[in-house]
């Protein structure tokens, strides 16, 4: 039979940790689950064990996360690391495996703080060994100080790409080139949103500072690159592209790519919660109220999993969700909820005013939303963009039906790497908005679980299952 907890929090990035702090301070029982062995999420990954030298490389925003880790010292707050959550239900049962043993916990309130995931950036050759995402490169740097082989090329767009370049420079890594794919028009489209961004000047100052460091280091910086193609026999040997009317081919042993982050909606999709297409961020986000409450009773979403807001805003979102959870538990009344929520919400909204500028400036290049025919979209089942266009021509309406036409999204990753692109390719082919073609239905398990783990679980008698109602 499942264990019980007052609140389960999935994910221990800024949103999950901030939620745990509020819940723990109120005396609630909190079970924090994270797939990684240590808390911190992707942004503060490895922070608890980082050496002073690594803290210098990774910068002061990284080190600033240490305050959030204090939540773990609260009585009533427990942390389970290495926990792969593979099922959540609307009844708030959470199934997860730790070291090959599957367990279940029933929560009275459930906070999903599953954060962001990198937007897929498909182009011909992106699946070659030696090509990886900037996020993956940064994880290696944060957890073990690992640097990629040289020559190293960074390609794509978005703040993380510049941050990683600066962190690599601080670590003494040589960078052969930075190939920026941001469409030139983005600057004009972002300009009207500049006043909002000035609400939090340090976002801009940080970006300007990163670019200045890259310039000072003398790294070749190509702008408005298009027609990206990773080349090589068996592994990546070069990146070719066009920039400012000229063709380039840069030899490389490692190619790190990135074009922004999107909410990780695997859990909220598996719960069949209502999602809306966010045209500005070009991604799906669950529909939430001002506290992060979903349409499912007692289930809340905090942080980037509900829409990309950044780490600081995510912490405010985590506190708001925690307050709503406390109200749901009857530990605080509506008046206290509103009173304590007000300053968090004001702070959150200030961060949100800065988003439209960043979203417009770093909107992904259209070539990654609707890539050339030969590009593999689904890595698990090796389905190309051309195939997906064929499915659309045969009457395939959206990603769900595409599964049946040719298996994209049916591998172990359940569409994490291809869902957005398959949707945008079908939408473009059909000439309809992405919102109309929908997204994959996500099925349990969210992450693979073995037959042996499942068979060994202590579960109710299946014969007690009637058909509901």
């Amino acid at each position: 039979m499942p264990a019980e907890t007052e609140v389960a929090v999935i994910g221990t990035g800024p949103a999950g940790l901030a939620a745990a702090e509020v819940l723990g301070a109120a005396g609630a029982g909190v079970m924090l689950l994270d797939e990684q062995p240590a808390p911190g999420g992707q942004i503060y990954r490895g922070l608890g064990s980082a050496t002073p030298a690594r803290l210098r490389v990774l910068g002061k925003d990284y080190a600033a996360g240490r305050g959030l880790l204090a939540a773990l010292d609260r009585p009533g707050v427990s942390f389970t690391g290495g926990a792969t959550v593979w099922e959540v239900t609307r009844g708030r049962s959470v199934s997860f495996s730790v070291a090959g043993v599957a367990r279940q916990v029933a929560a009275r309130q459930l906070i999903l703080a599953t954060g962001a995931t990198e937007r897929p950036m498909p182009f011909p050759g992106w699946t070659l060994p030696g090509v990886m995402t900037a996020g993956a490169g940064q994880i290696l740097l944060k957890t073990s100080g690992l640097l990629p082989p040289v020559p190293l090329v960074l390609a794509g767009s978005g703040p993380l790409l510049f941050l990683l370049a600066a962190q690599y420079l601080a670590a003494g890594q040589e960078i052969a080139a930075l190939v920026e794919t941001t469409p030139p028009a983005n600057r004009f489209l972002a300009l009207p949103h500049l006043p909002g961004a000035l609400a939090i000047p340090r976002y801009l100052l940080k970006g300007i500072g990163l670019l200045a460091r890259i310039r000072r280091a003398g790294i070749p910086h190509f702008r408005a690159a298009s027609g990206l193609r990773a080349e090589g026999e068996g592994r990546v040997e070069a990146l070719s592209f066009t920039a400012e009317g000229r063709a380039h081919r840069l030899p490389c042993a490692a190619l790190l790519i990135h074009c922004g982050v999107v909410p990780n909606v695997q859990a909220s999709r598996a719960l069949n919660l209502d999602h809306a297409w966010d045209e500005r961020q070009k991604c799906w986000r669950p529909r939430l109220d001002r506290f992060g409450r979903t349409g499912a009773d007692g289930i809340l979403i905090a942080g980037d999993g509900g829409g990309i807001t950044g780490a600081e805003a995510a912490a405010h979102g985590g506190r708001l969700a925690a307050l709503a959870a406390l109200a749901g538990l009857g530990r605080i009344d509506t008046a206290e909820l509103d009173r304590r929520a007000a300053p968090e919400r004001r702070a959150l909204e200030r961060h949100l005013r800065a988003r439209p500028f960043l979203d417009a400036l770093y909107a992904p290049s259209p070539e990654f939303l609707d890539p050339p025919d030969e590009t593999i979209l689904c890595r698990c089942e090796e389905v190309t963009a051309g195939k997906v266009r064929d499915f659309a021509d045969l009457g395939c309406l959206g990603p769900n039906q595409a599964k049946a036409f040719g298996r994209p999204g049916m591998g172990p990753c359940q569409g994490r790497y291809c869902g957005l692109t398959v949707a945008s390719v079908i939408a473009a082919r059909r000439g309809v908005p992405v919102a109309e073609v929908g997204y994959y239905r996500i099925r349990p398990p969210l992450k693979p679980v073995t037959l042996g783990e499942l068979a060994a679980m202590d579960l109710p008698d299946p014969a007690d299952d009637d058909d509901g109602h």
Binding site: Q414, R443, P444, T450, L451, G452, D465
Partner: protein, 386 residues
């Protein structure tokens, strides 16, 4: 604006599409009204078993005729639907189970059907070398097999459309009435009329029947399946067990499909069904007992499909008991996939010449002998005629 056509089929699953295809072959121009998209529910997400093995006696003649159509399914729909006659096997783990299977096969033979065969331990091992050593024998159908469900739905839809059938997706039937021998149907944002109405609405079949004044006591069932990562080939036929709930099959790509009858939860407000871990755990335990080497194999995905299950678990197939010009084809209770090529032909025969060439009496709509439906639903369907 009202669209007038020869026949309206409620339900764009396999049975509805098969009825549409066969009616079109008979020269009619049918229209299919589908609440979601074709194959969204049971038709598209079932295990794809093409199985005569172990059928209820009433279904055997249909199932045998259906297999003949499966064997040349390309002629019917222009695609092989992924059908592979890999055989179906039902394993006996005890002497009592083997005796029970033997008795059953004898009775089926007495009815004049030769497809079920009993094999002993050696025969079973020849077909399934990886089976756990305690298994004693099996009942087998060597020409049975499996097909790809959604590919089958797509093939039926495309062939039907090529023959002039119109398929309207996103069009759930909300109102039905009949005047002067013509059905008037409201579905989605459209209005349609035709002299012929076929109810092939699957889990929603009883709702359509209620609009005809017929109370058919089905429940919605949510049959669960799960699929594993790719593993080296170890299993050719589709495998079930006499004493356990199991249906088990390895695809050519190495993935293993595990089903077998544990049910998920129907979620009407979510227009579908969700899995329940207890049943999945029980299926996993069965698999590990019969194939211990799969203990470390990962499950990649589990799902449930929604289907109408009748009290006697055989379908409602034939004319409406209350209304002229209306026919039913639903309630297949979780094993209708294999029958689909022939059920459409039966409907077309009933519509065009008033009789079927196969025995359908056991599938009568009025066999449940219940008091008439009270018209409580929010539709304006016709009352039961006096």
């Amino acid at each position: 604006m009202t669209t007038a056509t020869d026949a309206i089929i409620a339900g764009g699953g396999l049975h509805g599409l098969s009825a549409a295809l066969h009616l079109a072959r008979a020269g009619l121009r049918p229209l299919v009204l589908e609440r979601d998209y074709p194959g969204r529910h049971a038709s598209g997400v079932n295990a794809g078993g093409v199985r005569r093995l172990g059928r209820q006696f009433a279904e055997i003649p249909l199932s045998v005729a259906a297999l003949e159509l499966w064997q040349r399914i390309g002629d019917l729909v222009g695609d092989d639907c992924g059908f592979i006659p890999c055989g179906q096997v039902k394993v006996a783990e005890t002497e009592a189970e083997l005796q029970q299977l033997t008795d059953r096969a004898t009775r089926v033979r007495a009815l004049g059907f030769e497809h079920e065969e009993i094999v002993g331990q050696n025969g079973l091992r020849a077909m399934v070398p990886a089976i756990a050593p305690h298994c004693l024998g099996a009942m087998v159908c060597r020409n049975d097999g499996a097909a790809n469900p959604f590919r089958t739905v797509t093939a039926f839809r495309r062939r039907a459309e090529a023959l002039g059938v119109t398929v309207c997706a996103g069009a759930p039937v909300t109102r039905l009435s009949r005047r002067a021998g013509v059905w008037k149907v409201e579905a989605g944002s459209g209005r349609f009329e035709a002299p012929v109405l076929v109810n092939a609405a699957g889990a929603w079949g009883p709702e359509i029947a209620a609009m005809l004044g017929e109370r058919i006591p089905c429940r919605a069932g949510a049959l669960m399946l799960m699929i594993t990562e790719r593993v080296a080939p170890f299993l050719t036929p589709v495998l079930g067990a006499a004493g356990r709930k199991l249906s088990f099959k390895q695809f050519a790509n190495g993935t293993v499909l595990i089903g077998g009858g544990y049910r998920g939860r129907v979620e009407p407000e979510q227009n579908g069904a969700v899995t329940r871990l207890a049943g999945l755990g029980a299926s996993a335990a069965t698999v590990v007992a019969l194939f211990p080497q799969l203990r470390g194999t990962q499950i990649v995905r589990a799902w449930a499909g929604i289907e109408a299950v009748t009290p006697d678990e055989i379908p409602v197939l034939g004319p409406s008991a209350t209304e002229e010009g209306a026919w039913h084809s639903f309630g297949y209770s979780g094993h209708g996939f294999q029958l689909a090529p022939v059920t459409g032909r039966i409907i077309a025969d009933l519509v065009t010449c008033g009789m079927a060439d196969l025995p359908i009496a056991p599938f009568r709509a009025d066999r449940f002998a219940l008091p008439p439906a009270r018209d409580t639903a929010n539709h304006s369907g016709p009352r039961r005629r006096p």
